[in-house]
């Protein structure tokens, strides 16, 4: 009973956050997207609230939760009244022949059943997660937060460097929040959170593509993700990589929705939700912090570069949306800075500064890392025979020039700042991963072997989304009067 109510409260918080930024969902697909986003935002909020409770030494968790919920409902009422509702034109679907449509639908359904079956079986077989990191890092930190009471800080000491005490606490604090409601630890909580993030990531990808590119492309994108075995394996292993991929995808989706918005200026609520998701990504793993910095850099670059070519009003709108992105991520960023500065010891990757300079000048190291990156591009998903990365690139190349004439969307009439910023952010993040391997104090081959596939996986849902978003946009455009005629 109590865990169910806590789950409801968590989801309610997430839904209130998403609704405050997205006041009216016009279509069933938009409502579906809001529901899947709410699960992740709720867990992020649960995590932040628990840490605030611990940091301030507050006693009543319920009071903090209720206070936050009331605050969010007030914010929702205000934004509903003051901020114009944002929406996108529903994308008309691609015209696939009936037999192909049937094959795609059947393939999607089969992949969905396989993914669900595998995820549930894995969760039942490995209730403590699969692999050491689940209990040696994430669930251990959750225990320190839950059992430690006022002395929780001691668990993040330099005595146990192998537990990476500098890692951010989204996952551990969310788990501890649920345990506190239940009054005891339960193996079901981290396992369920892992499942929720896995399912929600697929749900966000599918529903966002459904809004922006129609059902066929949504099924192609969803199929690519669900048929990535390592995505399902990592999602149920209670590691933080799939939760991070969720927040990266949510950021990308919200910014790309802004591109498709029917209002001229970028919707403030969606930008704020993107900033919040990027903040949650940074609060999930250190790689998320890299993604947040990459995103801000990319947006700033677009802003500075855009000044030369954009009209005055558009430049102002871009500057406003950049400020909003920063401001919405700032509260979480401040919590991360506080945690890193006052609680956690320094990270293990930036310790040996003398060796770092030597590694920077070692060209053989660059070549070795580049080779691993090339190999992992085809291997990271643990696919059978045909790499999913190759399939996604192939379908993107095959379909990119086809279909716009059948849809009538006005994708290339807009500057697509969001799309370009997200593509640049993912690329910069990938380059950042490369640099981390260059400076790592560990044996670089050991480090690559045990982490690179997970780093690729963090960016994979966002990359699928961006690829699918480009399907058909280079085709011939139609006048508005021709819209949807081909669908009839």
């Amino acid at each position: 009973m109590v865990p169910g109510l806590a789950a409801l409260q968590c989801f309610g918080l997430g839904f209130a956050i998403v609704s405050a930024g997205w006041t009216r969902a016009a279509s069933p697909a938009e409502r579906m997207l809001k529901l899947f986003l709410s699960a992740g935002y709720g867990l992020g909020a649960f995590s932040i609230l628990f840490l605030v409770l611990r940091a301030l030494g507050l006693a009543s968790l319920l009071s903090v939760d209720v206070f936050a919920f009331v605050l969010l409902v007030v914010a929702w009422l205000l934004t509903r009244r003051l901020v114009p509702a944002a929406t996108v034109l529903p994308a008309a679907d691609h015209n696939f022949p009936g037999w192909l449509r049937g094959s795609l639908t059947a393939g999607f359904a089969a992949a969905l059943c396989a993914a669900l079956y595998s995820a549930v079986r894995r969760t039942m077989a490995y209730p403590n997660g699969e692999g050491w990191d689940a209990f040696a890092i994430w669930n251990l930190h959750a225990r320190f937060l839950f059992r430690g009471g006022a002395g929780w800080r001691q668990g993040f000491s330099a005595f146990i460097p192998w537990s990476h005490p500098d890692y951010p606490l989204l996952l551990p604090a969310a788990i501890a929040h649920f345990w506190s409601y239940a009054g005891q630890e339960s193996y079901a909580v981290p396992a369920t959170i892992g499942l929720v993030f896995t399912i929600s990531t697929v749900g966000v990808l599918f529903s966002a593509l459904l809004i922006l590119r129609g059902r066929k492309v949504a099924m192609l994108g969803g199929l690519a993700l669900m048929a990535t075995p390592s995505f399902i394996e990592q999602g149920t292993s209670q590691y933080a990589d799939v939760p991070l991929s969720f927040f990266i995808l949510a950021t990308v989706v919200m910014l790309c929705l802004c591109d498709a918005s029917v209002v001229v200026s970028p919707p403030a609520g969606w930008i704020a939700l993107a900033g919040l998701a990027a903040g949650f990504a940074a609060w999930t793993k250190n790689e998320g912090l890299l993604f947040l910095c990459s995103l801000l850099l990319a947006r700033f670059w677009m802003l500075a570069g855009g000044k030369r070519i954009a009209q005055g009003g558009e430049t102002l709108a871009r500057a406003r949306s950049f400020r909003l992105l920063v401001v919405s991520a700032l509260p979480i960023l401040l919590i991360i800075l506080w945690f890193k500065r006052f609680i956690a010891p320094p990270g293990d990757l930036f310790v040996y500064s003398a060796a770092t300079f030597h590694q920077f000048s070692d060209l053989a190291r660059y070549a070795a890392i580049g080779k691993w990156f090339g190999k992992q591009f085809f291997r990271f998903g643990h696919w059978l025979w045909v790499p999913g990365s190759l399939l996604v690139v192939g379908i993107f190349l095959a379909l990119r020039n086809w279909g716009a004439q059948n849809r009538g969307d006005q994708g290339n009439a807009r500057p697509e700042i969001g799309f370009r910023a997200c593509a640049a952010a993912l690329t910069i993040t990938l380059c950042g991963y490369f640099v981390i391997y260059v400076i790592t104090p560990y044996d670089v081959y050991w480090h690559l072997r045990f982490s690179l596939n997970r780093l690729f996986l963090q960016l994979w849902p966002g990359a699928i989304f961006l690829c699918c978003l480009r399907i058909g946009v280079r085709g011939q455009k139609v006048r508005p009067t021709e819209m949807f005629q081909n669908e009839a």
Binding site: L100, W132, G148, L223, I232, G388, A398
Partner: protein, 132 residues
Amino acid sequence: MPQKTGNFPACLAIAVLIFVCGCLLSSARLVLEAPRRHIPDDIARRSDLRFAGLKAALPTEGVVGYIGSSADSIGYYYLAQYALAPLVLDHSLNHPLIVGNFPSSAPQLPASLEVLRDFGNGVLLLAAKDEP
């Protein structure tokens, strides 16, 4: 000129079919490699039970030392820390109380340590001997 399926070019239809079949291969791997055991692998839960007696005898917070067999996996240290949290295990002997963890071999202790209590299953509570 490629053949068309209605308005849809045949080569694109083939591309979509290859994509679907390629994805389904990996979905098949997911199903084939899904664990079929009904008894869950709860190594951490068993470790919690193994250290339950020791946990009751230790202070609820602070830092204690740790010693284990060099032949054992470092994973046993992780499991001990996981079971005894929020107590912090420092992998050193420079503490008044030391946790001994010897799950797969007979304890081989330095002469400077004495056993305060043996909890069975290779779990020991140790202390530094007083210097004469």
